[in-house]
C-alpha cells in the first residue's frame, strides 16, 4: 500500500537504499518437509498480498465492487424501490439479490475485498514503519561511486581545499541531515576492509538533531568508507538527505485509514438510528426501540442500554417565499436527557434543518414535516368522536398536497359481525392551500393558508382482521374490488364543512395540526472517524508536498582525476562532483538542485 521506494529502478540500480537489499526475496533451502513448504507457501502468499501490484488490484476491485451500490437500488437505502426492482426484473432480480448486489456494503464479498486490502496495508505499513525508524537512526547513506549516473549531476571546480569547500557546503545545507565521510579514491580503495563505525564526522546540524552519526552498519557502504579523513589519497564526501517528514506523512495517512475503518466498524456495531413521527403538542420519549416507528440497530445493540431522553414538540414553523419556496423549517422543543429524564427539568431548543439537537451522545434531527387533518364524526347513535391522522406529503409536490386515510375500525353502537359491515374509512388528500378547478382539489401553496380536503368515504370491511399489515396512509383496495368496502361519498370539504352519509353519519373537517419526522442517531465512534479523517488529510498533504531527496558531494583536490596522486589535500582548488536524487517521482527537484550546485562556490552563504 505504501509507496515502495525499493521498487524504483533508480534506487535499486544504485544500491543506495538499505531497504532494497533486504527486500530481495531469499531463496528457501530445499527439502524442509511439509511444514517448511507450508511455511514457504504462507510466506509467498503474504509477500504477494503485501505487494504493490496486488494492492493496486485490490483498490480497483474495491472501486468496481462499490459501483453496484450506486447503480442498483439498495435495501438499506430504499427498500420500496428495491422491491419494485425485483418485481420489474423477475429473472435477473432474484439472482442479483442472491449475489448481494442490493446490499453491496454489507455483503461478504465486499467485506472480503476491503479486509484483504487492509491486511495488505498493514503488511506493508508496519514493516515500513520499523524500517523508517531504523533509517532515522542511521546517517544519510554513503555516496554512490558514480555520481554521473544519478538523475541530477553536476561537476565544477572551485577555489579552496577540500576541507574548506566541505565546510562551505555543510554550512549551506541547513535543514538537511548531513554526513561527511572520507573515502579512498577508486582503485586504491579496493581490497581495504571496512572499519565499522569509523566514519565519525558530525554533520553540520547532526548534533542539533540529536542524531547519532556513526555509521553503525556496513549496509551503508556503497563505497568504501575510511575511518579517518586525514589519510592521503582520499576524497571527502558529503551525503545529505532531506524530507523525512514525507515518510511520516505517508505512514500517518495509511495508519489513519486503518483508524477510520475501525471507527466506522465500531459505529456500525454499537450505534443505532431511529425515526419517529411526532405531532405538534405531543411528547416523545426514547426509551427503547419500540418507541420508534423505524429503528435500525447496530449489530451489538439490543435496545436495553439506550440513553433515555424526552422531547416535547411545542411548535413547528415553516417559512416560505411568495413563490412558495421554503426558506426555513424550525421546530421549537423542550427536552430532557440523561439524568434529567423523568424529572421536571426541561431545556428549550430549536431544531432546524442542518442544525440538530446534540444531547448526551444522542443527536436529534428534524428530517421532515407534514399535516394531520382533523375530522369529527357524529354517528347515527348520537356519539361524537374526533380523529386525527398523519397524511404523507406527495413526493415531488412543492405545495405539500398530502395523502392519507382515517380508518374507523370500531364504530360505536355496533357489535359483533356488524362491525365488519360498518367500518368507515376517509381516504383522500389534504391541501394546505386548497384550490379547486373543475372539482379537482390541489394545493397551490405549501403553507396552511386555506386548508381543504378532497375525500372518498367508504363503509364496510377494512380487511384488518386478515392479519395482513396495511399502510396507515391508504386502504386495502382489494377490499373495494371485492365489494366488501363500498364508496359512500366523494366530496371536497373546506375547514368547518361537513358531509352527511345516507345513514345519518356526519363527517366534519374540523382542522389540522402539523407533524414532524424526527430521527435519533447514536454513534459514539464518529468523533474518532473525524480525528482519523483529519489525520488522513494531514498525512496525505505532507506526503504529497514534501519531497524526500538526497544530494551527494565528492570533493577531490584538483588535477587528480586519475586517482593516483601524492598530494596532501592542501591544493588550492577542489573538484566537486555533485549528484542528486529525489526518492519520489515528484518533478521539481531540478530547481533546488541547481541551488545546491552553487554551494561549493566561495562567498555564498
Amino acid at each position: 500500500m505504501t509507496v515502495r521506494d525499493s521498487t524504483q529502478p533508480t534506487d535499486a540500480d544504485l544500491q543506495i537504499d538499505p531497504d532494497a537489499a533486504s527486500a530481495v526475496g531469499r531463496p528457501l533451502p530445499p527439502g524442509q518437509g511439509f511444514f517448511g513448504r507450508l511455511l514457504a507457501a504462507g510466506r509467498n502468499v503474504w509477500r504477494q498480498l503485501t505487494s504493490m501490484r496486488v494492492a493496486l488490484i485490490l483498490l480497483f476491485l474495491l472501486a468496481l465492487a462499490s459501483l453496484p451500490g450506486a447503480l442498483l437500488p439498495q435495501w438499506s437505502l430504499n427498500s420500496a424501490k428495491t422491491a419494485q426492482y425485483l418485481l420489474d426484473y423477475p429473472t435477473m432480480g432474484p439472482i442479483l439479490d442472491r449475489l448481494g448486489l442490493f446490499e453491496v456494503f454489507a455483503s461478504p464479498w465486499y467485506a472480503a475485498i476491503y479486509l484483504a486490502l487492509f491486511l495488505s496495508l498493514i503488511g506493508c505499513v508496519l514493516p515500513r514503519s520499523l524500517s523508517f525508524i531504523g533509517q532515522l537512526r542511521m546517517p544519510p547513506v554513503a555516496t554512490p561511486r558514480k555520481l554521473s549516473r544519478l538523475p541530477h549531476h553536476h561537476r565544477l571546480e572551485v577555489d579552496g581545499t577540500s576541507q574548506e569547500v566541505a565546510a562551505r557546503i555543510r554550512a549551506g545545507l541547513r535543514g538537511w541531515r548531513v554526513e561527511q565521510r572520507s573515502e579512498l579514491l577508486a582503485g586504491v580503495a579496493r581490497g581495504i576492509a571496512l572499519d565499522v563505525g569509523g566514519s565519525a564526522v558530525v554533520g553540520a546540524n547532526g548534533a542539533a538533531e540529536g542524531e547519532t552519526t556513526a555509521a553503525a552498519d556496513s549496509d551503508l557502504a556503497a563505497t568504501t568508507v575510511l575511518p579517518n579523513s586525514a589519510l592521503p589519497n582520499s576524497a571527502l564526501t558529503i551525503s545529505a538527505e532531506k524530507g523525512y517528514l514525507r515518510e511520516v506523512g505517508n505512514l500517518v495517512f495509511h495508519l489513519s485509514l486503518l483508524g477510520l475503518l475501525i471507527a466506522i466498524a465500531v459505529g456500525k456495531l454499537v450505534g443505532y438510528e431511529g425515526s419517529v413521527i411526532v405531532n405538534t403538542g405531543s411528547q416523545f420519549c426514547s426509551t427503547s426501540p419500540a418507541s420508534y416507528d423505524n429503528f435500525r440497530p447496530g449489530l451489538l445493540v439490543d435496545g436495553t442500554e439506550m440513553v433515555p431522553f424526552c422531547v416535547d414538540l411545542q411548535n413547528f414553523h415553516a417559512a416560505y417565499t411568495d413563490q412558495g419556496e421554503a426558506t426555513e423549517f424550525a421546530a421549537t422543543v423542550r427536552y430532557q436527557a440523561g439524568a434529567d429524564a423523568g424529572t421536571d427539568t426541561w431545556h428549550d431548543a430549536t431544531l432546524r434543518v442542518n442544525d440538530p439537537l446534540r444531547m448526551d451522545g444522542e443527536r436529534l434531527y428534524l428530517l421532515g414535516h407534514g399535516f394531520s387533518p382533523h375530522f369529527q364524526i357524529t354517528y347515527p347513535d348520537g356519539s361524537v368522536r374526533d380523529y386525527a391522522e398523519q397524511f404523507a406529503p406527495e413526493p415531488n409536490d412543492p405545495n405539500f398536497t398530502s395523502e392519507g386515510a382515517v380508518k374507523v375500525t370500531d364504530p360505536p353502537g355496533v357489535t359483533g359481525d356488524d362491525i365488519r359491515k360498518q367500518q368507515l374509512a376517509i381516504v383522500g388528500i389534504f391541501a394546505p392551500t386548497a384550490s379547486v378547478h373543475g372539482g379537482i382539489m390541489t394545493s397551490s401553496f405549501p403553507a396552511a393558508n386555506d386548508p381543504g380536503v378532497a375525500i372518498d368515504i367508504y363503509r364496510g370491511d377494512l380487511g384488518m382482521e386478515g392479519g395482513r399489515s396495511q399502510s396507515i396512509f391508504s386502504i386495502d383496495t382489494s377490499q373495494v374490488d371485492k365489494g366488501a368496502l363500498v364508496k359512500q361519498e366523494r366530496t371536497n370539504l373546506m375547514m368547518g364543512e361537513s358531509v352527511t352519509l345516507d345513514d345519518g353519519t356526519k363527517i366534519t373537517f374540523t382542522g389540522y395540526n402539523e407533524w414532524v419526522s424526527l430521527q435519533t442517531s447514536f454513534d459514539p465512534a464518529q468523533v474518532w472517524a473525524l480525528v482519523s479523517a483529519v489525520l488522513l488529510l494531514s498525512g496525505l498533504m505532507v506526503s504529497l508536498i514534501i519531497k524526500r531527496r538526497r544530494v551527494w558531494f565528492r570533493l577531490r583536490p584538483a588535477g587528480r582525476n586519475d586517482g593516483v596522486t601524492s598530494g596532501d589535500g592542501t591544493a588550492d582548488r577542489t573538484v566537486v562532483e555533485i549528484g542528486g536524487l529525489a526518492r519520489t517521482d515528484q518533478a521539481g527537484y531540478g530547481e533546488e538542485f541547481s541551488t545546491l550546485t552553487a554551494l561549493p562556490e566561495p562567498g555564498r552563504r
Partner: protein, 380 residues
C-alpha cells in the same frame, strides 16, 4: 433577488460561452496549421546538442522561421550528415491564432467569473445551488487551471483538448441545465455548502485538466510507438540518434534522405505529433492530480461533516457518496501506480483517465439519472 444582477449574469455567461467557442476554434486552427513551430525548434536544437554530446559530427536539420529545403546535409565532416526531419514551412499565422486563443480564453473566463459573481449577488448566496451554477463554476475553474498550467509549461497545443470539454459543459449548462436565479431550499442553506461544494467544484475541475493531459499522454504515446515502428533505423523517440543516423547514411536504402523525408512528413501530418511531449503531459497530469487530490479528499470529508449535520450520519452509501468514494479510490490507485515499477507511464495514465470518467459520471449521471439524497440538482 436582484433582477438586474441576474440579467447581467446571464449575459456574461453567454459571452463566456461564445468566448470559449472562439477560443476552441482558435486553438484548433493553430493545432491544424502547425508545422513544427516552437516545439520543432526545440527538438531540432535538442538533436543538435545531443549529437554534439556524442562527439559526432554535428547535423543540423531544421531551423525555425520558415526555412525550407534540406539545409543540414552540408554541415558535418567526414561521416556526412543527413537532414533528419523534413522541414516544413512554419505557419506563423497558426501561432498567431494560438496566441489569440489564449487571449480569448482569458476574456471568456473573466466573463464566466463575472457571471458567477453576479449570479451570487442576484440570489444573495453562494452560486452553487443547482447544476447550472455548479457547471458554470466548473467551467471557470477548469479554464483558470488550464491557464495556470499553460503559464507554467507553455503547452498551448493542449488548449483545444481542454477547451473542448469546457465548451461542451458550458453549452449543456446554458441549455439543458439552465434555471433562473432563485433561492435554495433550507436543506442547502448551510455554511457546509460553501465548503463542500466549492472544494468539490475546484478539485473536480483540476482533476479534469489532469484527465485531459492523461488522455493526450495516451494518444501521444501511441503515436510515438507507431512512429518508432515506422522508422527502420531504430530511432526510439524518432529523432535522438543523430550520431547513429550519420552512419546509416552510408546505407542508402535505409537512410536515404528521401525515405526519411517521406516518413517524417507522413507522421508529421498527424495532429498528435504537435501535442506537448510525453514528459510534459505526464508532468501536467501528475502535478494537477496531486494538487487536486488532497482538495478532493477534503471535499469528501467536508461532505461527510455536512451529512452528519443534515442527514444524521456522516456516511450512508448514498449513490453520490459511493461514486465519490470510487473516484477517490481510483485516484489513490493512480498515485500508488505512479510509484510502482511497471505501472508508471501508460498504465498510470489509464488509471487517471478512468478517474476522469468517474468524475464526469459522478457530476452528471448520478445527479440526473440516479435518485438519491443528492438529487436536488434543480432538475427534478
Amino acid at each position: 433577488m436582484n433582477e438586474t444582477m441576474a440579467q447581467i449574469s446571464d449575459l456574461a455567461f453567454e459571452a463566456a460561452l461564445a468566448g470559449y467557442v472562439v477560443a476552441l476554434v482558435c486553438y484548433a486552427i493553430e493545432l491544424a496549421s502547425r508545422r513544427g513551430g516552437d516545439r520543432g525548434d526545440a527538438q531540432a536544437a535538442g538533436v543538435a546538442s545531443r549529437a554534439a554530446q556524442r562527439g559526432g559530427t554535428s547535423t543540423l536539420t531544421r531551423t525555425g522561421g520558415g526555412s525550407s529545403g534540406v539545409t543540414g546535409n552540408v554541415a558535418g565532416g567526414a561521416t556526412g550528415a543527413i537532414g533528419l526531419i523534413a522541414p516544413l514551412p512554419t505557419a506563423s499565422w497558426g501561432v498567431r491564432f494560438g496566441r489569440a486563443a489564449v487571449v480569448v480564453t482569458v476574456v471568456a473566463v473573466i466573463a464566466n467569473v463575472v457571471s458567477v459573481v453576479t449570479r451570487g449577488l442576484a440570489v444573495g448566496r453562494l452560486p452553487l445551488g443547482n447544476m447550472y451554477e455548479f457547471t458554470s463554476v466548473i467551467c471557470a475553474a477548469i479554464t483558470i487551471c488550464w491557464l495556470i498550467v499553460f503559464a507554467r509549461t507553455g503547452a498551448r497545443t493542449m488548449g483545444a483538448f481542454v477547451m473542448l470539454p469546457v465548451v461542451i459543459l458550458a453549452f449543456v449548462a446554458g441549455t439543458v441545465l439552465y434555471v433562473p436565479a432563485a433561492p435554495v431550499v433550507p436543506a442547502l442553506n448551510s455554511y457546509w455548502k460553501w465548503i463542500h461544494v466549492t472544494t468539490v467544484a475546484l478539485s473536480s475541475s483540476v482533476l479534469m485538466v489532469s484527465g485531459a493531459a492523461s488522455v493526450l499522454y495516451l494518444l501521444r504515446g501511441r503515436y510515438e510507438r507507431r512512429l518508432a515502428a515506422l522508422r527502420p533505423s531504430g530511432g526510439g523517440g524518432g529523432n535522438d540518434i543523430a550520431g547513429v543516423r550519420g552512419f546509416d547514411a552510408a546505407r542508402p536504402e535505409v537512410g536515404s534522405p528521401a525515405a526519411e523525408q517521406a516518413g517524417a512528413a507522413r507522421t508529421d501530418r498527424s495532429l498528435l505529433g504537435r501535442l506537448p511531449s510525453l514528459a510534459t503531459l505526464d508532468r501536467i497530469a501528475y502535478r494537477t492530480a496531486i494538487v487536486a487530490f488532497p482538495v478532493y479528499t477534503f471535499a469528501v470529508i467536508a461532505g461527510a461533516l455536512w451529512a452528519e449535520v443534515a442527514w444524521g450520519r456522516y456516511w450512508g452509501w448514498d449513490p453520490k457518496e459511493t461514486c465519490a468514494f470510487v473516484t477517490w479510490v481510483i485516484y489513490a490507485a493512480y498515485l500508488h501506480a505512479r510509484s510502482t515499477a511497471g505501472w508508471r507511464g501508460r498504465r498510470a495514465a489509464w488509471i487517471s483517465v478512468v478517474g476522469f470518467a468517474s468524475i464526469m459520471f459522478n457530476l452528471f449521471f448520478v445527479n440526473m439519472v440516479v435518485s438519491g439524497l443528492h438529487s436536488y440538482a434543480g432538475l427534478n
